[in-house]
Every structure is written in C-alpha cells, then in structure tokens.
C-alpha cells in the first residue's frame, strides 16, 4: 500500500472524524459548555442532569447514527458502481431505496391497523426495518436476475429507474387511500432522520451494517478483479455468481438497514465513491472501502451539524442538507481534479 494512503487512512481521516464527532456532540439547540461535553463523553456527569441526558440519549445516538449512515451508504454505492461498471450506479438509481420505501409504505399506509396495536409494545421500528429490508432485498434480487440476462449495464440502469417509478406509483396509490395522519408518518420517514433512534435500535443498526461492511471487506478481491471485466475475473479464478451474490447481500444489508432506520438518505451513496476515488487516486478496493467509509462518515457528521442549525430549535431534513451541500462540493472536486471517466474506462 502507498505510504500517503496509509497516512490518510490511519491518521488524517480518523482524526478528522474524531474532531467532527466531538463538534457534532457539542452543538445543538441547547448550548452545553464544551468542557461539560468532554466530561460526559469521558464517562463523567455534567453539572446539570439535563445536559448529561441530552448528550447521552440524544446527541450521542444521533452522531453514532450519522457515522453508521455515512459509512454504510458510501460503501454500498461503491459496491454497486463496481459491480455494474457504471458511474451513475448507487443504491437509489437501482431502486433499492425505492424498494425500501415501498416496504415501509405498505407497512405504514396499508397495514397501519395491524401496526397500530404494536406501537405500544415498541415493535414498530423493528417492523419498519423488516419491511424496508424486505423491500430493498426484493428489488435488488430482481435487479440481479435482470443483470444475469442482460450484459449491458445501461439497460440495467433503465430497469432500476423503472422499478423506482413502479414503486413510486404503488406508494402514490397507497397514499391516495390513506388518512392524512398515516401519510404524515410516511412523509417524515422519507425526509430521512438521524435522530430518534434509541440505543437498542442503534445496536441493531450497527450490527447489521457491521455485517454488511465485513462482507464488503471480504469482497475486495472479486471487486478488484471485476474492474477488468467479468470474463477476466472468471479467468482469474473468481466465482462470479457467488461474488455477485455476496456483493448484493452486503449492499442490501447496508443500504437496506440505513434506509429502514433513517429513511432514504440521498446523494451520499453515489457521490462519495467518486469523491474518494479522486482524492485517493486509486482503484484498489482494499484502500477504497475504508477510505470511502471514512469520507462518508466525515460528510455525514458535517451535514448533521448543519442540519441541526446550531443555536436554533429547528432541525432541517438531513436529506435536503446532504444534497444541498454535497452536490456543489462534488462538482467542484470533479472540475478541479479532472475527469471521473478514468475510473470507468481503460
């Protein structure tokens, strides 16, 4: 591994994450003195009970969620771009998030009478997670089946878009027959949110996303080989079908679980792989996977800081912030650092 890569991966990015993590927790609608924040983070108690409570049960879970979201969506976007050999690929383009939306819509809009009774028992969020995972898994499965039949990735992208439209249409019909209250619950889910998860839910999210990340690390070899072509990868001893299956399982776990717990969060999945490839100037997934994960974490922590509008009581939808802030940054980097085309051609 290149020395500059090692320094970035083991020193610069983790340091940036640590600093942003602390800033993220220090800021919010209630101002807590910085030394009190550090005190709580190092296991002590703040001088006010409410401050300890805010930090441990509100800000810390939200920052942790931001970390999980940044890493998971970035990795899944990278996996999809490599698997489908297409720079426009990402969880959203292929309809994975649309699938999750459909699952959640079916649960919240069509099945609210069943779930209504479960809200009290605290099972709703688990059902939302299951519905979203099933939805995204199903769409990905369809995408894979189609990908086995067609060789042209452009065709696949169009089919992914069609899945998106299809699920969008079904969601519209469900909304048409739903009450305003139900629609509002669903709408808030689609805005995306990093907050509102309790520690049990975060533990589950981290466990599922962690599995996805672990699988992605095991897939470094087939991912690198796939940069040449499927035929080349096969000739280098890669089992294409198994690799494709595990790459999709990993993406499904990552994108599916994040979408389930936090809603469909846009932009990160497509943009971070490009940004990372340009900054690290490499195609090697052994570097790219940790790099893209850490870069994603940094961007999500920054976006979260901005979305909570430090000093005000309002919190903007995270979905709006990621695109609003991220898109200009990516455009700037691409214009400055040269073409992204190099990663997608010989």
């Amino acid at each position: 591994m290149d020395r500059s890569h090692t320094i970035k991966l083991t020193l610069l990015l983790p340091l940036a994450i640590l600093i942003l993590f602390i800033i993220n927790i220090s800021l919010g609608s209630v101002s807590v003195p910085f030394d009190e924040v550090l005190n709580v983070l190092s296991g002590g108690e703040a001088s006010k009970n409410s401050w300890t409570n805010i930090i441990l049960n509100f800000r810390l879970p939200k920052a942790t969620t931001a970390i999980a979201v940044g890493a998971s969506l970035s990795i899944s976007g990278l996996l999809m771009q490599t698997l489908f050999r297409n720079p426009l690929a990402g969880p959203f383009v292929l309809g994975i998030s649309s699938g999750a939306s459909l699952g959640v819509a079916l649960l919240l809009l069509a099945g609210i009478s069943i779930t209504g009774s479960l809200v009290a028992s605290g099972l709703t969020s688990w059902l939302v997670v299951s519905a979203a995972s099933l939805g995204s898994g199903l769409v990905l499965l369809l995408v894979v089946i189609v990908s086995l039949r067609v060789r042209d990735s452009m065709t696949l992208l169009i089919i992914g878009l069609m899945f998106g439209s299809l699920t969008g249409a079904i969601v519209s019909i469900l909304q048409f027959f739903s009450s305003g209250e139900e629609i509002q619950v669903y709408l808030f889910w689609t805005f995306g949110s990093l907050g509102g998860l309790n520690w049990d839910e975060i533990t589950a999210l981290l466990a599922i996303a962690g599995m996805g990340i672990m699988i992605s690390f095991i897939m470094v070899k087939p991912l690198n080989a796939l940069l040449l072509s499927e035929n080349y990868a096969r000739s280098m001893g890669i089992n294409i079908k198994a690799s494709r299956f595990w790459i999709i399982i990993s993406t499904s776990l990552l994108a599916g679980s994040i979408t389930a717990f936090c809603g469909p969060i846009a932009f990160i999945g497509i943009a971070m792989p490009h940004l990372t490839r340009l900054l690290f100037n490499t195609s090697n997934h052994k570097i790219l996977i940790p790099a893209v994960a850490m870069s994603g974490v940094i961007v999500m922590l920054v976006c979260d800081i901005i979305s909570q509008l430090p000093g005000s009581e309002h919190v903007l939808p995270i979905n709006a912030i990621t695109s609003l802030l991220g898109a200009p940054v990516v455009i700037w980097v691409i214009l400055r650092r040269g073409s992204i085309k190099h990663s997608f051609s010989g």
């Binding site: 490599t82 070899k221 000739s235 280098m236 195609s283 090697n284 190099h342 051609s345």
Partner: protein, 335 residues
Amino acid sequence: MIEEDHNDIALSIRDLAVGYRTGKQDLVILKNINLDLKHGELVCFMGPNGVGKSTLLRTMAGVQNPLSGKVIIDHMDLSAISTAELSTKMSLVLTDGINAGNMTGRELVGLGRYPYLGWRVDFSNNDLQKIEESIALARVSAYADKKVHELSDGQLQKMMIARALCQDTPVMILDEPTAHLDLNNRVAIINLLKDLTRKTGKSILIATHELDLALQSADRLWLAGHHVPVLSGFPEDMVLNGAIDKVFELKGFDLRTGQLKKKSLGKKVSLQGSGYQLLWTKNALERNGYEISNESEYGIVVNASKNLSWEVKHKGNVVTNTLEELINYLNTQQF
C-alpha cells in the same frame, strides 16, 4: 515456469463439438475438432469472421460448455476442474473493455497473482518477484508506474500480456491481441509472444486475422472454415497445400507468391536491373497494369548507382528519377 519440453502436450481437444444449446435443439457451430497445443508453441488460430472461432475459444476457456467431446488441460478434463483451478492453468487476454483507468500498470499486472491470493489480497515476496519478472519479460517496465488511462493502446495491450504472464499458467490464450493497433505495435506484440514461448515454454494461442504476421511467426496454424473440420499444420504447408486459400476463399490474392493478383492491361515492357530496386520497380509496373516481358519495344533499365534513376529505351532514351515519373511517362505512350 514450466520445463521446456516440446514433446509434451499442454492442451488437447478431442472430438469436440461447440455451439449453443437452445431448448431441445443443439446449434452446432464447429464439430469433430481434434487439436493439440504443445508446450512452447505459438499457435495462430485463424478463420473468416463468423466461423465460430470465438465459440471455440469460449469453450476452451470454460466459459461455455461443449456440446460433445472434451477439452483436456494438464491431463484433466476441463469440465471437471473448478474456476479457481483453471485460473492456474490458463490465462486470457480478451477484447473486453476494462474499468481500471485509475490503476497503475504495475497494479494491473499484480491482478495476475489473484489466483494465488487469499481474500486479504496480500502479496507475498514471491508474488512481488513474479510481478517484476512479468513486467521485465513483457518489456513494459518503462511505463509500469503510469496510470492505465495514460497508456497508449499498444502499451495497454502489452500490459495486459504482462498480467496474463504474471498469472503463471502453462497456457495463454489471446483474442485478437493486435486489433486496432498500428503496424509497429502489431509486429511488436507478435514478436513478444513468440519470444515468450521460447523463454518460458508456455503454449500461446492467438485468435487473429493477421495472416501475414501469422505466416511469419506462428509455429503452427489452426484454420477454421465453413463446412470443414478445424485444420492444424505448419504455416508453410498450409500455404502450399492450398488449405488457406480454401478456408479464406481468397479472392484476388495469390498466397503462394504472396502477391495480389495483378490485372494486366496487355502493355508489355522489358526490365533490366538487380536487387530490391528491381523488385520494387517490378511491383510498381505490375500494380499499374504493365506486364514484364522480353518481347517488348520498351526496355527499362534500373540504374542503381549513386543516384537512382530509370532509363526507358524506345525510339529515344528517357531518364526518370522517380518511379512515379516513370509510370506517368509510360502512361503517355501508345502501346
């Protein structure tokens, strides 16, 4: 590396039929194929477009199942060995587009070690040594640290050959490795491959349309034609016994003389001279429809002294300094 042993057979094909299985019907494209690929041999596999070369190559590479018969590599039936095992016996250079622009040449060559690596993709010292050896053997060290997107087509193709070399397999198969390359690069690639068979003892099979290069470098030709079994033989034998003319249904090209058939316009000239000057003068005259004959009123003498000139002896003598002038002069004459 494999011990050089020309009697040993690296890959053999027995009673093979290739094609596609659609429902109940088999679409047979080539059948009754019996071929041997010896260690250290450079074989050019040729045939007109659409004859099934790619189908046979795909079957040999295990991408596609044979309709009947078998491919035996290293004494094992191809259908009985795993993808992982096959990757240590056969390497490929394909025409597929690659997405590796951000890799360096050296990283690309390193991919060749993948059959021998675990999931962590850690190169051992032996792997690193093999990478350097392959880079040196394929003569790509000058640009091994460049990014792949910075390489020219010829450089990239040599890098892909280095990658295949790095895979350290007894058999290497290349699909049209010289397509889209200029003459220099085509010659360089063929020479490189020929050299590799001699230095490493590998068997190299090239599917190609470059008849001239194949005739001059291949140890053996495999010829696939419509409605004939795939033929195998010495290039020169296949020229002399007409196999090539038959397979390619050559029109207007006389392979035995290595010339395009020239249309004579009935205009005869006689020619005197020697060496390559004579050869090219003959070429220019014949290309322009003049027949070389001793019974002609027009006598041309090639003066290959310090200043090359041509003298036309007819009613008077005319001297020209270029062949273009000579032909232009002859064209104005009444024959």
